[in-house]
Amino acid sequence: MNKIVRHPASFKDPAGFIFESGGKIYRQVNQRYADEFKLLIDSGLYAKLTSQKQLLSHSAVADNFTGDNEWFTTILPEQLEHISYPYEWSFDQLRDAALLTLSILKTAITHGMILKDATAFNIQFHKGRPVFIDTLSFGKYDPEKPWVAYRQFCEQFLFPLYLEHYLKTDMIPLLSAHHTGISASLTARLLPWRSKWNLGVRLHVLLQRNVSERKQEPNPRITFSKTKLMNVILHLESIIKGLKNRYSEQTTWSNYYDETILGPQYLAAKEKLVTEFLTGMEFSTVLDLGANDGHFTRLVASMGKDVVAADSDSKCINGLYAYAKETKSTNILPLVIDLSNPSPAIGFGNNERAAFGSRMKSDVVLALALIHHLVIGKNIPFDLVANYFASFGKILIVEFVPREDEKVKQLLSSREDVFDDYDERGFEKSFLRHYSIRKKQVIPGTFRVLYSLERI
C-alpha cells in the first residue's frame, strides 16, 4: 500500500480533498458531497464540460485509499504537468481564466447546478488552455438565491483585471500578497477617477463596497430569480470581454528580440548552437528561464518538448501566451516570474501554494542572455545563481555574456563595477561546483559563450 499524503492546500472544502499516492494525485469525495457528485454526473454536466475540455476529466477509482469513514468515492483526475498560480499569469491568462469560470457557471445553471466557489486557484493551464480542476466545486442550484461566489469572483478575477486595465501597469502580482483576492474597498481606492463613470465599476466595485460596509440585517429576505442571476453573469462577462490588455496597441512584441539584442545573425547562430547541443539528448521537459519573447521557447516547443517559459516582462509573457493560443500549441506554458524574486510559498503554514522553485522541475533548463542581468543587474553572485539553476534540472544550457559585450557595457555604464570575478574563469569556477561541461562554444560573431552543462 502506498503512502497517502494529503495535499496541504486541500482543507477548505469539506466536500472532499486531494491526496497523493504512488506519485499520482487523487481526489477523495466525501459522503456529504455524494448527492451533488451524483447530480454532476447524472445531469450530464460533467460530460458536457469535459467534452468541451473546460473541466479536468477523471476516471473513477472504487477503492477507499484513506480508510476514511467520510469516504464516498475516489477519483483519479487527468494528471497535470505543471501547477501555476494566478499571480504568475499575464493579463490575457487571467482574463481567459475568468471567462472560463463564467462559461462553466452558465453551463452549470442550465444543468441545475451552480459554482459554489470561484477562486482563481481552481484554474490551471493544461495543454495550452485554462481548465477548471475542482470537480467538487459544483452545488445544487437554488433559483431563489444569488450567486454565493459572486464576491469571490470579483475579488480574484474582476478587480485585478480592472486594476491592470485602468492603471496600465502590472497589478496581477498583487494577488500574491492578497491571495484570497483584492477587496472592493482596496480596488476602489486604487482605481483612477475617470473609471468611476463606468457602469461596471460603479456597480461591481463602488456599490459592492458601499453595501458591504453598511450594517446588515442578520437574515435579509431576498428574492432572486434565474433571469436576474443571468443578467448579472452576462454583465460580468461583457465587462471582462471588453477589458483589453495594455499591449494591444503595440503589436511589436515579435520584434522584441531583434531590437534589443544583437540582431538576426547572432540569433541564427545561437539557434543553431542550441539545436546542436540538444540533438541526441533524451529529454521531454524544458524550463526556459528569462525566456524574453519566447524565441527559444518556440524553438524547443517545435521539437515537441513541453516548455515552461518564465520571464519578468509581462508583455513578453502575454505575447507568448497569445502566440501559443493562436497556434493552438499544447506544450507552452508562459509565466510572469521575476527570477531575482520568484513566487514564494504562501498561504497557511506557508504550505498552501508552493514556491516557484519547488514546483518547476525539468529535464533541461535554458538560461540564455540572462546571466548578466542577474549577476550585474541584481548583484547576485555566480555561486548563488549556479546553485539556484541546479535545483531545476540536470542539464543546463547557459549563455555567458562577458564584459566585452555591448549589453554588459550598458549595464556597467551607470554603476560602479564591483564585479571582480565577472569573467569566464569566475563563471566556470562557480558553475563547475555543480555541473560538468558537456559542450562549450563561442557564439560566432560575438564574445558570448554557450555552455551545455550536466549536473554532477
Binding site: 451533488e36 450567486w147 464576491r151 435579509p220
Partner: protein, 55 residues
C-alpha cells in the same frame, strides 16, 4: 442544500439584488427605446432577440 463553505461576504446577496434590478431597468428602457425608434422610423426594426447587458 448548497454547502456554504465560502463566505458569500457581507451584503454580497444584497448587491446582486440591486445590480440585477438596475440591469433589469436598463434593459427595459433599452427595449422601450427600440420600440419608440421603430415606431417613428416606421421600419420593422425588432429589438435584438437575445438582449445582452452592456456596460
Amino acid at each position: 442544500m448548497i454547502l456554504l463553505y465560502v463566505d458569500p461576504g457581507s451584503g454580497s446577496y444584497l448587491v446582486q439584488v440591486i445590480i440585477a434590478a438596475i440591469l433589469g431597468a436598463l434593459f427595459y428602457f433599452k427595449n422601450l427605446w427600440w420600440q419608440i425608434k421603430a415606431f417613428f422610423t416606421r421600419k420593422k426594426e425588432e429589438p435584438p432577440v437575445e438582449d445582452k447587458p452592456d456596460e
